[in-house]
């Protein structure tokens, strides 16, 4: 572990930028509707005949709409560490895109540390590792109230969370 290269657990849904990772969505050129996961083809807005969806990075920060955790090991295709560790999950509102995106919460953060309306920032963490690589996934991490959500501090918190 540790020396393995990082690879996305799901291809094409987020950048692998170490300091400022972003989800990748689609945006309709005609009506501006965003989609996540990214999709091809027609716009999901029934009032729009648009068929050109461009790939765009989504906001890195948002507010918690709701949250929970997984106290029991999910079934396959979830790949669990052994032994299983409880993890928190957040549904996060992205203001610009006007949508809510689910994600696991950074390792070590408990539901008691979360609240609805709390600001969070996107990070990458390992979901599982196989023989070739560490498969990384996006996660939400609480952002301190009032602190700038700059790359350095978010990165630092990510490192702290892994320590």
């Amino acid at each position: 572990m540790g020396n393995l290269p990082r690879a996305p657990a799901i291809e094409g849904w987020y950048t692998l930028d170490e300091s400022r990772p972003q989800l990748i969505g689609s945006r309709c050129r005609a009506c501006g509707t965003y989609c996540f996961p990214p999709r091809e083809g027609s716009c999901p807005n029934p009032a729009c005949a648009g068929s050109e969806l461009e790939r765009v990075p989504l906001s890195r920060t948002g507010k918690i709409w709701s949250y929970t955790n997984a106290c029991y090991q999910p079934p396959e295709p979830y790949v669990s560490p052994d032994p299983f560790e409880c993890f928190a999950i957040a549904a996060v509102e992205l203001e610009t895109e006007r949508m809510i995106v689910l994600g696991q919460v950074a390792k070590g953060i408990r539901t008691q540390q979360l609240r609805v309306g709390m600001r969070v920032v996107l990070i990458l963490e390992t979901l599982y590792a196989d023989t070739q690589s560490e498969k990384v996934i996006w996660k939400w991490q609480p952002a301190d109230e009032g602190s700038p959500l700059d790359a350095g501090s978010a990165q630092q918190r990510r490192v702290d969370a892994q320590a």
Binding site: C31, P37, A47, S66, A70, C71, I89, R98, I100
Partner: protein, 393 residues
């Protein structure tokens, strides 16, 4: 012209974890419904089966499978799959055949045998399948129920005691229901002492998966007036609506809502019963009893609002007032609901209709809701399948 069809007969196989083949439960329920209707199987002109998903084949193509098990007799056949909404869709197919004049008497059957533990997707690697993706990321069904529950706590001041009180109420209702799997009373403390599954939901807040079967014999009103052996119960409205863009809540199995940039966000669940009411030409104020999908006890509170029993944010006070208990103003889940049954997916929407039929006939025994005249069911199937049925006496 009346758009009603009549319920001639209802039947169920008791819910449990019997571990037998789903066809056995379906046939048991079908024979019970035919007996209740006083209809001979060979008289049935249309059989509508609710499919379950096994081994890549939807329920071994359920409509024909049940017909073969009952004995081939040349009826026209249909199979519906709409996840938890399967039963309503199978019933809607039967209603359409009857109203179009293609048949007079139809049999609708749904049955399931469920695996132990979390419902999980089929094996394999399928990043294009949203259901596969969400399990890969660790988001089970209780994840979604818990997100809605926590949201109620933040928005409306719901408490873990409220969620427990829903379980306590439904357990009280189901304790004497011979078709229920769990016939045991619980206290608030029992619920609060059970293991946390998905914060704030505990084991006794989350429904189990069960084996079971339910069936209905339905007919034209004209046929029912001549042959129905019970007070006639009418199916006055059925809703099988999809969501409308843009979604306000993350719905299973999605991992994001729609973007509300170009269209207003609104609740899917609130649109489901609304369509059944308009189909039936009634309003929520006319309802005397409801069966709603308490996948979690917190979700039952959402349904109070979504089927129009109260305004958004008022479900906790409605619950606390005792209105939704048997004996209250508007009893909800007199059968005991999923809390006492556990979910047998393709049978569940039909089981809701069975219960309301007994209620509207006045045959529900100790569970009877006094003076029940109008009933509504509500549930929601994975991938955007609405389900709501309005019954009138």
């Amino acid at each position: 012209m009346s758009r009603d069809v009549a319920v001639l007969g209802v039947g169920m196989h008791p819910w449990g974890k019997w571990g037998r083949h789903f066809v056995e439960y379906g046939v048991h329920a079908a024979r019970a419904a035919l007996a209740d209707a006083g209809v001979e199987w060979r008289r049935v002109e249309f059989i509508s089966g609710g499919a379950t998903m096994r081994c890549g084949y939807p329920g071994y193509v359920a409509g024909a499978t049940f017909a073969q098990a009952l004995g081939w007799q040349g009826a026209q056949v249909n199979t519906s799959y709409a996840a938890c909404a399967t039963g309503s869709q199978a019933l809607a197919a039967a209603r359409a055949r009857i109203l179009s004049g293609e048949c007079e008497v139809a049999l609708v059957v749904g049955a399931d045998t469920t695996p132990k533990g979390f419902l999980a997707p089929a094996k394999g690697v399928r990043p294009d399948d949203p259901d596969w993706v969400r399990f890969h990321l660790g988001f089970t069904n209780p994840t979604y129920f818990a997100l809605y529950a926590r949201r109620r706590m933040a928005l409306y001041g719901a408490t873990e005691r409220d969620f427990a009180a829903v379980k306590v109420k439904n357990a009280e209702h189901g304790v004497a229901n011979p078709n229920a799997r769990y016939r045991k009373a619980f206290s608030i403390e029992d619920v609060l002492a059970s293991a946390m599954v998905a914060d704030p939901l505990r084991l006794l807040n989350v429904c189990a998966t069960s084996d079971g079967g339910a069936a209905l014999v339905v007919s034209s009103m004209e046929y029912a007036r001549k042959h129905c052996q019970h007070p006639i119960v009418r199916i006055a409205g059925i809703s099988c609506v999809t969501p409308r863009f843009a979604s306000a809540e993350v719905e299973m199995p999605d991992i994001a809502t729609d973007s509300a940039i170009a269209a207003e966000a609104h609740s899917y669940r609130a649109s489901i019963a609304a369509r059944a009411y308009s189909d039936a030409g009634i309003g929520a104020e006319d309802v005397s009893v409801a069966e709603v999908y308490d996948l979690s006890s917190a979700l039952e509170l959402d349904w109070y609002e979504h089927i129009g029993l109260c305004k958004p944010g008022e479900a906790e006070s409605l619950l606390r007032s005792g209105a939704t208990r048997i004996g209250g103003r508007i009893p909800v889940n007199p059968s005991g609901g999923l809390a006492c049954f556990g979910e047998a997916v393709p049978a569940q929407a039909l089981a809701q209709v069975c219960e309301l039929t007994w209620q509207l006939r006045g045959q529900a025994g100790v569970r009877q809701v006094a003076g029940a005249k109008v009933g509504v069911t509500a549930n929601q199937g994975l991938f955007g399948h609405g389900s709501s049925v309005v019954l009138t006496s």
